[in-house]
Amino acid sequence: MILDQIKYIAPELSLLCFALIIIITDLFISNKRALAVIAVVGTLVAAFFVLMLWNGQAVEAFYRTIAIDQFGLFFKLLILAATALVILASNVYVAKFERFQGEFYALLMLSAVGLMLLVSAINLITIFVALELSSISLYVLVSFLKDKKSSEAGLKYLILGSVASAILLYGMALVFGMTGNTCLTCIADYVKGMPVSNLPGTPALLVGLVLVVAGFCFKIASVPFQMWVPDVYEGAPTPITAYLSVASKAAGFAVIARILLTAFGMPDWLHNDWAMIIAVLAAVTMTVGNVTALLQTNIKRMLGYSSIAQAGYLMVGLAAMGMGSQLDGNVRSGLLFFLLSYTLTNLGAFIAIIAISNKINSDEINDYTGMGKRAPLLAVALTICMVSLTGLPPTAGLIAKIYIFSGAVDQGLLWLVIIAVINSCISAYYYFKVVKVMWMGEPASTDKVTSSWPEWLAIALCCVPVVVIGVLPGAFIALAQSASALFGI
């Protein structure tokens, strides 16, 4: 019975209900702060449902369109955490939206629903629908400030996003045409036995695969589909930038990993091929991201390029997963653990930036001068995040890099790891530029920069785990390993 399976999408349904409740409540109450409370409660309830499913049997529900496994649940938790933290951090920022605060929260949650469906979808059509659900909400959110930059960003995101969707859909159509199936495991059955000699006969399948990957490269901001990142990151409301840089990217990686490893994980020649493509893209992506970030003066743009570079490191993990037919625990969980630490770190950085720019109304790095004196704790938090993004101890960033790179070396990708570690050195320059201006310059004014308690809570929820993972990563790695167990065949 289909109704029995409703419980498998309880997290998404509950979040959807709360989003609708917010829209309706918004009509009747004047104290908009209550909406934020409802939104946070909504994410907590959804997270509770996810945890209920955590220990259950892995199932494929709804006619094999949605898989409930720890891999998907892990990402759902990550997305919910990011959503909750972004809502907490928007607490002061939403004043800029005047009367549309309810819509802001509701759209954010709807986009989260889309992403959550996306990470557990195992059917090409479901994947596409979930992707569009999250994207359409995000198009609106990016232009939510309705000023020149924000509108431009929204339009760019819409147009380029639609192109990417079209590419993706075309790729999916080709894959369906060649294999006769839309469900990932069925495609895998078809592809599995295909000998390499069939390759000339099936170029359409390979083109389809490439186009599908290309469509998602837009989502994860990999070269050559990274052009939208800086403009959209700069123009969008900062909480949405934060959300794009973590939740949307994490979901993108989840779905790429799932498609590539489930549907195209066999035979050997095929996964070696796409792994090599991903490896080359990773090298180019991180280099382009890091080198361009060096020149940025706006902190949101800088973090935009930095997130491109981080996508490059993440792709190292993805490439490692494709390189061997036997995936041991470290190789298959590197991507997940890195995403966990990256999500916390990047969110922490963005929330600190939101808190600071609420007061100084600027995103220029030079205007952060002397922040160590004006807002010591915020400066400490931002410093921790920058140190973690660089990959220095005692933070999650270093452990995550060591971990993901060790998997890559294990799979023979030493050349890629060397490129990646050199890239880390380059990145130190621009991350430490922020640290430098905060602690070394004299502040432009002596006004203290204060923050609201929800912002503090959000920052603490990011920065404390970043340091804890940096010192005692054991349990978190174990979590990532158990969440990636399904690729361990």
């Binding site: 005692p394 060790s406 790695i477």
Partner: protein, 495 residues
């Protein structure tokens, strides 16, 4: 009986810094007393470890005071601490310099709370490097040291401090980036991060040529030591760093390079080390001579001492890659004695600068009249640096040269040694010339009012002198211990 002494030694400074961080708006006096207490406690414990260190025959090559608990099970990494004869002197050196660096910063005015937090974190991370026996833990401490040093140079430094801080950061990061790749290769080949198990293991791999692995690992250490031509960060960092940071930088931080070379490169890949010894020795000799030659021309006191470090670290490299038991002991002793001697020299330069507000040799003259105590101590440090018998400098250099000259492992050792010995002649030249210009020229009227060292400064400088003399007169107090760590490593090379 397990008191976890090493953990206490490494983390007492961290406890100190947490206490400092938690006090809201502490006064300068509170902060410095807490910092001193933490550094002192760490120092006393390290002396206790030195006293309790098992020097018997059976303990040769054994790690002592070992602590091992699982840390990251997924990659088989442990929280694994221990000391042997190689690392123990360096641990004591660091805890000693930790106390001194608090003392030389006694009068710091600019944001003392943050300053001492960074000093203590720096101390902890360097101690961690010398104590860890797990490669990942080692790497973690190795990288951790960067952050406090970056802040110390760029906030409390002078001159082109931001440039120097960045240069230091990028140089070190590049080195450690290659080291990380090397460490991961080692793990892939051997499936362990345990440094004791890796020493003497026969690494064989089709995955990466051993030569490549050797150079991946050594670049980071060579930058840190520093080896010519990777030394250019050092004069900038030293010149612009605050005194305490210079003391720690020259005293202990550079030794991480020499320590890493012996512990990782030589003991893990002895055959490659033998093969490439002539290359490394050539760099060592160039470093000695070139460093000394450049030193003569310096007019900034701090820069002068910084370049002399390049030259003196050349002796360490010479001793290491002569690959003989005696020369390795000499290199280790040279690391210790250079640590105290150059630490003292930087402390003295700091004092002179505090009093006269200049480090330019051309503006200094005849200070012997105005500051007699400083002159005596500075001269002792200078003489120790040029290797006067009776000081630590002589003991270390003599053992290094004697060992290198007699080494049969590498061909042509006497030639390398003889050229390197010339460095001593140049060293005497620049040290004596420097002392003469600063202290014994015409006394300048403008320095008539300047004071001599006060009580705190005397405590810190005299304790340096005591250590220098003690090691100089009775080097066996350290060489006995060092030998226990070096003997098994030297045996590997013979194989």
């Amino acid at each position: 009986m397990n008191l976890n002494l090493l953990s206490w030694i490494v983390f007492l400074p961290v406890i100190g810094l947490i206490v400092i961080a938690l006090i809201p708006r502490p006064g300068q006096k509170t902060v410095r007393s807490i910092a001193l207490a933490a550094a002192m406690a760490s120092f006393i414990l390290s002396i206790a470890v030195f006293v309790m260190f098992d020097r018997s025959e059976s303990a040769i090559g054994q790690m002592q005071f070992v602590e091992k608990i699982s840390w990251i099970p997924a990659i088989n990494s442990f929280y694994y601490l221990g000391v042997d004869g190689l690392s123990l002197p360096l641990v004591i050196l660091m805890t000693f310099l930790g106390v001194i660096s608090v003392l030389v910063s006694w009068k710091i005015q600019l944001n003392p709370k943050q300053y001492f937090i960074w000093i203590l974190l720096l101390e902890s991370s360097i101690l961690g490097v010398f104590c860890s026996l797990d490669l990942i833990l080692f790497f973690l401490f190795w990288e951790l040291e960067l952050i406090p040093m970056f802040f110390l140079i760029s906030i409390w430094g002078s001159g082109r401090k931001e440039y120097a801080a960045y240069k230091y950061l990028i140089y070190t990061l590049v080195g450690s980036a290659f080291m990380l790749a090397g460490i991961l290769c080692v793990y892939f080949i051997t499936h362990t991060f345990d440094m004791t198990a890796l020493a003497g293991i026969q690494i064989a791999s089709s995955f990466i040529p051993l030569t490549a692995l050797f150079f991946l690992l050594i670049v980071g250490f060579a930058i840190k030591l520093p080896v010519f031509p990777l030394h250019t960060w050092l004069p900038d960092a030293h010149t612009n760093a605050p005194t305490a940071a210079s003391v720690i930088l020259a005293g202990a931080l550079l030794k991480m390079g020499g320590y890493g070379m012996i512990r990782l490169c030589v003991s893990m890949l002895p055959q490659v080390a033998v093969q490439y010894a002539p290359f490394m020795l050539t760099l060592a000799v160039i470093g000695v001579i070139y460093g000394a030659a450049v030193t003569i021309r310096q007019t900034d006191l701090k820069r002068l001492i910084a370049y002399s470090s390049v030259s003196h670290m050349g002796y360490v490299l010479l001793g290491i890659f002569a690959l003989d038991q005696v020369s390795l002991v000499g290199a280790s002793l040279q690391m210790f004695s250079h640590g105290v001697i150059t630490g003292l020299l930087f402390a003295m330069v700091g004092l002179v600068y505090d009093k006269t507000h200049t480090r330019d040799l051309n503006n200094l003259s005849g200070l012997a009249r105005q500051m007699p105590i400083i002159v005596v101590v500075f001269s002792i440090a200078g003489l120790a640096s040029l290797g006067l018998p009776g000081t630590a400098g002589f003991a270390a250099e003599f053992i290094t040269f004697a060992g290198s000259f007699a080494s049969t492992v590498v061909a042509g050792m006497p030639v390398f040694t003889l050229i390197a010995v010339l460095g001593i002649v140049v060293t005497s030249g620049y040290i004596l010339w420097m002392l003469q210009r600063v202290f014994y020229g015409y006394p300048l009227d403008k320095y008539n009012g300047v004071g001599d060292a006060d009580a705190v400064e005397m405590i810190s400088t005299f304790s340096f002198v005591a250590v220098i003399m003690m090691v100089g007169i009775y080097p066996a107090v350290l060489t006995n211990v060092i030998n226990m760590g070096i003997a098994p490593i030297a045996k590997l090379i013979g194989m």
